[in-house]
């Protein structure tokens, strides 16, 4: 399945789970705050692994090394819109859903599973998300090592 299509499905499931206050016992507002903060951190990491030296130098050249904040924002947005970023964020979403299932009240478990099923995600896709993420990170690390040699 297309990575972006998968991302859209996963993000809807995550939103459905985050909005609910009755599936997990405790302070869900704190969970939402934590999720937002960490999601942005992951987006930052996704940007970090999506950028290339070539892209960055081109950007600096185009902006005479003094980009405005809006130019930077545009650059960050465009650069983050990469296959690597989607693989990383999908993995983060999958981890969240897995943890959410772990923390769901027993009597609400069926409802949560229904949300996942209705969201169009099947169990084997979770495995695929993890495999794709690990493979991408391995390739990235290899390319960095080769560049260093």
């Amino acid at each position: 399945m297309n990575t972006i299509f998968l991302y859209k499905k996963l993000s809807k499931i995550v939103a459905n789970l985050l909005y609910r206050d009755d599936f997990v016992e405790g302070d869900m507002e704190k969970v939402r705050e934590t999720f937002v903060k960490n999601f942005y951190d992951v987006l930052g990491l996704a940007f970090n692994i999506s950028i290339t030296e070539e892209k960055f130098n081109k950007f600096l050249k185009e902006t005479n090394e003094f980009p405005s904040d809006l130019q930077s924002l545009k650059f960050i947005g465009e650069t983050s819109e990469s296959p690597e970023a989607y693989l990383m964020v999908n993995y983060f979403f999958a981890l969240f859903i897995g943890m959410y299932l772990e923390c769901t009240k027993k009597d609400q478990l069926e409802k949560v599973e229904r949300i996942i099923k209705d969201g169009g995600i099947t169990p084997d896709q979770f495995d695929k998300i993890k495999e794709d993420y690990q493979q991408m990170m391995l390739m990235k690390k290899l390319s960095v090592n080769i560049a260093q040699v």
Binding site: V14, G26, G44, L45, F47, D69, M99, M137, K141
Partner: protein
């Protein structure tokens, strides 16, 4: 469905267990083993579920960060060399800063609208980056119109999608 999902997510759940020191049932079991009555142990753990989830989210990010570390460090070294101080930091580390400004609060609300709207990563980055343009002092040169335009574009994305869904529903029923 329960069995298949749990089977597939076993490894993911294992990470959570490591993060929180055990699954909910394992933690409850541990408490019972320490002499806590079963009903009380289960209730105690149940009440902490949200806390456990929050810890798990932090741990998931840390795990991803650790994995990305070697790649990011390498890029940092390359980009840090010979570049204007501050640019790489702004771009790659601090482009989303927590802020208590009113705009930041709107950005957060917008985030929740966006996350359920199935929009792409760039839209989330833009929503988060609004925090930066309001939080970083040097960013004062960005005027209200610029920020308004970013908001307008993002909200249009969300509301157009909603309008399309409403229209589809009306036509269908």
């Amino acid at each position: 469905m329960a069995e298949s999902i749990f089977a597939s997510l076993r490894e993911i759940a294992n990470r959570t267990r490591r993060a929180v020191g055990g699954s909910i049932s394992a933690v409850a079991g541990d408490l019972i083993g320490r002499g806590v009555p079963a009903a009380l142990a289960t209730e105690t753990v149940r009440q902490k579920s949200a806390d456990m989830l929050a810890v798990g989210i932090n741990e998931a990010k840390d795990d991803i960060k650790e994995n990305a570390g070697p790649i990011v460090r390498d890029l940092n070294e390359k980009f840090a060399h010979g570049q204007q101080p501050g640019i790489s930091e702004t771009l790659r580390e601090n482009f989303i800063k927590p802020s208590d400004s009113w705009l930041s609060k709107i950005a957060k609300k917008l985030f929740f609208r966006l996350i359920g709207a199935g929009v792409g990563i760039a839209s989330h980055v833009a929503a988060g980056a609004i925090n930066v343009v309001t939080a970083v002092p040097e960013s004062k040169k960005v005027d209200g119109d610029d920020i308004y335009n970013i908001f307008a574009k993002l909200t249009a994305t969300v509301f157009n999608r909603k309008a399309r869904i409403n229209s589809y529903t009306r036509d269908r029923y």
